[in-house]
Symmetry: none
Subunit: 234 residues, 2 copies
């Protein structure tokens, strides 16, 4: 399915190797963001959600370990793979210390890298998300459970939401009574901001409005040229 491609942040300063690796990963159905150095890597990391980070150790200005430490401060869960130039024991040990999930010595076999990526991402997937609270929203008389993807009105029969309906409503709920910029939804949910995705989003707004009609206190307002606002009147 298109929108569940795993996202990889690749930080590698060697432009040749970097682009080749990026292309190779993309050919294997990963969505890859390539940063050319540690700084850029951290900037890109903050901007997006990634399923995996692949960091070159040897980089000017900011090496892979330092970057990994910064990443760990932001996110304790995201898997990290280090690329080390040679079998430097200290590097490997240091890597594990920063919370690496694996490391690979250059030159490495690309298929092996793929295997590792697969194994690591799958491993993370098996770690169950226990804090359900994060997925539950109250919207007027509605309960939205965005993990199980349903919307329930006053404890009645829950209505199933499609992935896009669900994500959009969740994003609106996160900004309840506040502006939810079009651009935000388009980049976060559709991952692309163009005429068609924009129209697609409008279609979904219409669908959500239909669901939410049951509670006349709840409505989605448009702010022309800006975005939408989910309001709950009291």
């Amino acid at each position: 399915m298109e929108d569940q491609k795993k996202r990889i942040l690749l930080v590698e300063d060697d432009p040749n190797f970097g682009t080749v690796l990026k292309d190779y990963l993309m050919m294997n159905d990963y969505e890859v963001t390539h940063a050319k150095n540690g700084m850029e890597g951290f900037e890109k990391f903050k901007k997006d959600d990634f399923d995996l980070c692949i960091l070159d150790v040897m980089m000017p200005y900011k090496d892979g370990f330092t970057l990994a430490k910064e990443i760990r401060e932001k996110n304790t869960d995201v898997p990290i793979i280090f690329l080390t130039a040679k079998t430097m024991k200290e590097d490997v040990l240091r890597g594990y210390k920063v919370g690496a999930d694996d490391y690979l010595n250059k030159p490495f076999d690309s298929e092996v890298l793929l295997m590792k990526i697969k194994a690591i991402i799958q491993r993370k997937a098996t770690e169950t998300i226990s804090d359900s609270k994060q997925f539950e929203f109250k919207i007027g008389s509605f309960d939205l459970n965005s993990k199980l993807r349903f919307l329930r009105f006053k404890g009645g029969e829950p209505v199933k939401l499609s992935p896009k309906e669900n994500e959009l409503l969740r994003l609106l709920a996160l900004h309840e009574n506040d502006l939810m910029p079009r651009e935000l939804a388009l980049t976060k949910i559709w991952r692309d901001d163009n005429y068609f995705t924009s129209r697609s989003m409008d279609v979904y707004i219409a669908k959500l409005r239909k669901y939410l009609k049951l509670d006349e206190k709840v409505e989605i307002l448009n702010i022309h040229g800006e975005g939408f606002r989910l309001v709950v009147n009291t």
Copy 2:
């Protein structure tokens, strides 16, 4: 949890290397059982509970992969590390397919091995919290005993479940009323996530639904693109 020493099963046919490695691990506070070949390895595995298996790939009579497969049939969770003589890509890939957690190329640095052991055992420990050793479930009017692989309706005649039926239902039961991601079942039970294993899983869902029809309060719901949900209506 346990302040107990972690137990390692080491299967290595080279007597010199084997004993040295065993001693080294014991010096680092692991309890090590050393088997000299695949047969012996499997015998010892059946007799005891281990926290980790370290298997040499190249062994007479029964190689490490075959042994791993047998071990996996008994225990889907125990971490496995392979020792491969050289960087054989096929070996590495085959290892991952059997559910290896990692591999090391001989000769390897002993400290690196220690690091890996630590990381893997640590990882499993956190995983096991949510995925506790539980084998008996009440599902509506059903009793599932996943150790003996049977499902009983209201104390009647138990129905025997096949291994896959059993594991799948168990996984669903562990997540009762919650999402059981497709990916989770595929990686945990099928150890591979592709079109065919996915379809195979759907077939098993159909089988389970047939069994569960006896109790109209119990159903397996699908969450499109995400997974399944075993719900028990009250």
